[in-house]
């Protein structure tokens, strides 16, 4: 890579952001007690199980990890948010078994993931080292995936048309998102999905920008396949790939309705065929639960009851809390009022961006068009083209569908909401999500200014510094991250 190419890939501000992200993640990996990352014992046990020849050894691994976790006070701390490790000595007593009923740590039943494969190799390499060292090094592996995610975020945002400055500001905001930072500092398969979604999003915006060519198409399909090899919800990338290709074909060839129908049919066969070809059969059976029987009389009844239980304000708030900052075993949250402020910003941003996307339809309603038009004199070019915004929104909806589908399948076969929608499951779309919210907030600010000017018969002043909004959000996110470490995580586990 030449000097110019390097400087293009790593502008100095981005390099500072990535360096600081690395340091922050090392600190988080050190601060979060071993096994207190969400689902860490399960993932650690699954990593250990990668090299065992038969499932009979899974029980032995479960018992081993259960005892190890117990010696780090995992069960005590996870069971009550008031509990601590014993700090009266100098650390873990290797021979100490806590005198309580030890719960079993299970091995995950969907062990297909490149994250497990690579982690297993790391654990093999560190065979002679203690558990703390193995877990810490595995966390380092996770954080490097996070570094790559932040790096990709810069290039995604540059590709959709933002300036270098704006892209760096977005990347800083992403790098300091507390829950993303937490998930990138623990042993958890979710981080693999973050990476594959970021890679896919980057290749997707490249495809939309540069048009289809053999290289773009191949890379996009490869990233979708990598998504399947990351975690179950990655399978939705196959569907989004087909929809993306369909959109590009439509734009290029503008086919007749008959051709559209035929294309849709061919695409459906392609989707099904690709999934059947690339994904192992038992993997598909597990993530769709196709062989399990329903607890309900009909799919409609099942879906209705599922939606009734999950589409509630309390459920959305819980999801939002675990998207922005509910650490450990979802018992170490950021403050409620901070979450409320964040939620309001998100609602304003999303509503505004939806109004903007529906503008061609809404323009027919003159009273909206009169005030809701884009600022006439704004030449900063801060709104990406609609196709990118629709792509980001589509990715968010696709992942929502994938996660809700699996959650519903578990509900359908058990009668209970056992998984839910923890916010961290939606972090793979953090980049697109933030772009939509920030653009929406800017739009909303602009419209409010116009309405005030119109009502007060003041001259229109369309100048709003978009980068100022970005700066304020980036600074707020840095403060939120510091608050999460200093006022939430450290007191919870050490004081």
């Amino acid at each position: 890579m030449s000097g110019n190419q390097f400087r293009k890939a790593f502008p100095s501000t981005l390099a500072l952001i990535l360096s600081l992200f690395l340091i922050k993640e090392v600190l988080l990996a050190s601060l979060i007690p071993i096994f207190q990352g969400t689902d860490e014992p399960v993932h650690y046990a699954t990593i250990l199980s990668q090299n065992t020849p038969t499932p009979e050894y899974f029980t032995k691994i479960s018992d081993t990890v259960s005892i190890e976790a117990s010696s780090f006070y995992f069960f005590e701390i996870a069971s009550q948010k008031t509990n601590l490790q014993n700090f009266q000595g100098t650390g873990q007593d290797e021979n100490q078994i806590i005198n309580q009923e030890i719960n079993t740590v299970s091995v995950s039943n969907t062990p297909l993931s490149f994250y497990y494969t690579i982690s297993s190799a790391i654990v093999d390499f560190l065979e002679s080292h203690d558990t703390q060292t193995k877990m810490f090094v595995l966390r380092i592996f996770s954080l490097f995936i996070g570094v790559f995610f932040v790096f990709l975020s810069y290039h995604i945002i540059r590709t959709v048309g933002f300036s270098k400055k704006a892209s760096a500001l977005f990347s800083a905001t992403i790098a300091f998102q507390p829950m993303f930072s937490f998930m990138s500092a623990i042993v958890n398969i979710d981080v693999a999905l973050f990476l594959t979604f970021a890679l896919y999003t980057y290749l997707g915006v490249l495809l939309l920008k540069n048009g289809p060519n053999a290289k773009n198409i191949l890379l996009l399909i490869s990233s979708a396949v990598l998504g399947i090899a990351a975690k179950g919800p990655g399978i939705i990338l196959i569907a989004t790939t087909c929809i993306l290709f369909g959109y590009i074909l439509l734009r290029r060839y503008a086919p007749s309705p008959k051709k559209i129908l035929i294309s849709a049919g061919v695409l459906s066969i392609l989707i099904t065929g690709t999934i059947a070809f690339f994904a192992p059969r038992d993997y598909l059976v597990k993530i769709t639960k196709i062989s399990s029987s329903s607890e309900f009389d009909s799919p409609l009844e099942s879906i209705g009851k599922y939606l009734n239980k999950t589409m509630r304000e309390s459920e959305f708030r819980d999801s939002s809390l675990s998207y922005w900052g509910n650490f450990g075993w979802l018992d170490t949250p950021i403050s409620g009022w901070i979450l409320s402020v964040i939620n309001w910003i998100e609602i304003i941003g999303f509503v505004a961006v939806l109004v903007y996307l529906l503008m061609p339809v809404l323009k027919k309603m003159n009273w909206i068009a009169a005030v809701a038009a884009l600022p006439r004199n704004d030449k900063t070019g801060w709104v990406p083209e609609r196709r990118y915004l629709v792509f980001f929104l589509g990715m968010i909806l696709a992942l929502q569908f994938a996660i809700r589908f699996y959650d519903w399948r578990v509900f359908d076969t058990s009668g209970q909401v056992l998984i839910g929608q923890p916010g961290r499951y939606f972090l793979p779309n953090l980049i697109g999500h933030l772009v939509l919210v920030v653009v929406g907030v800017r739009l909303a600010v602009s419209w409010v200014k116009h309405w005030i000017a119109a009502v007060a018969t003041l001259p229109r002043n369309d100048k709003i510094d978009f980068e100022m909004i970005l700066k304020i959000l980036a600074l707020a996110m840095i403060l939120l991250q510091l608050y999460a470490i200093v006022n939430v995580i450290i007191p919870r586990y050490y004081l």
């Binding site: 952001i17 340091i23 071993i34 009550q80 650390g91 018992d331 510091l482």
Partner: protein, 235 residues
């Protein structure tokens, strides 16, 4: 009257000041609630709610295991205090007769994580001495099912052999029972307290992370975050 427009430099200075104020605020909050909570035991098994009825105190005796006792932390639920109500926390001697410190909450008490913190002047020679924590709820109305409560373990635990819980509302005394009560201490100086915190941060970690490496990483992060914030403002 024409409002003068702020220059770019002025806006920068305002943002820098607000950002630094935010950082200071984060550490101020951390240090103002600071106390080293006792470790060596945890609250296990079934739990119960000890309801606070108006004028009926709940008391818990406990032994301090360190010098410098300066906080008692409890888990207080349904803590939204209405107008005309308040909750009183008292620290008393082991006979629950002589008050050492007290505080009244007329609104919902601030929390540190799951705990409501009762701070008082540090007791330098508290080690080995027994104290009595008393919580009393004052209200003119009977809130029925909505009263504040303190969380407690439901069964006796040998780890709390030095604790006795008295619920005057039920007229019962529970030996070896405990509220979710955790005394917290101070080493007498910020340096001593941070040293103890660093010692705790170093435990259950790989050898190469113990002690100054964690402190160094934390310091670099804070300084780096401030530097990044200023750079962002000046971009």
């Amino acid at each position: 009257m024409k409002i003068p427009k702020l220059s770019g430099k002025r806006i920068e200075y305002i943002l820098i000041a607000m950002f630094l104020l935010g950082v200071v605020g984060i550490f101020w909050t951390f240090l103002s609630d600071f106390g080293i909570g006792e470790s060596g035991y945890n609250f296990l098994g079934k739990t119960k709610k000890v309801t606070l009825s108006p004028g009926m105190p709940v008391s818990q005796t406990f032994a301090a295991h360190e010098n410098g006792l300066h906080q008692v932390r409890v888990v207080l639920g349904n803590a939204s205090i209405r107008r005309g109500e308040h909750i009183g926390f008292q620290l008393m001697d082991e006979t629950c007769a002589t008050e050492i410190a007290s505080v009244d909450f007329f609104g919902e008490p601030g929390k540190q994580g799951a705990y409501t913190v009762f701070p008082f002047e540090a007791i330098p020679d508290s080690m080995g001495k027994r104290y009595c924590f008393v919580a009393t709820y004052f209200s003119d109305e009977n809130r029925k099912g909505d009263k504040p409560y303190l969380s407690a373990i439901d069964d006796p635990d040998p780890a709390f052999a030095d604790r006795t819980l008295v619920d005057s509302n039920k007229g019962k005394t529970y030996e070896s029972h405990s509220l979710f009560l955790r005394p917290a201490y101070t080493g007498g100086s910020l340096r001593a307290d941070l040293g103890t915190l660093l010692d705790r941060l170093s435990q259950y970690k790989p050898g190469f992370l113990k002690g100054w490496p964690i402190a160094a990483i934390f310091t670099i992060l804070v300084v780096g975050s401030i530097a990044l914030g200023i750079r962002i403002i000046r971009l």
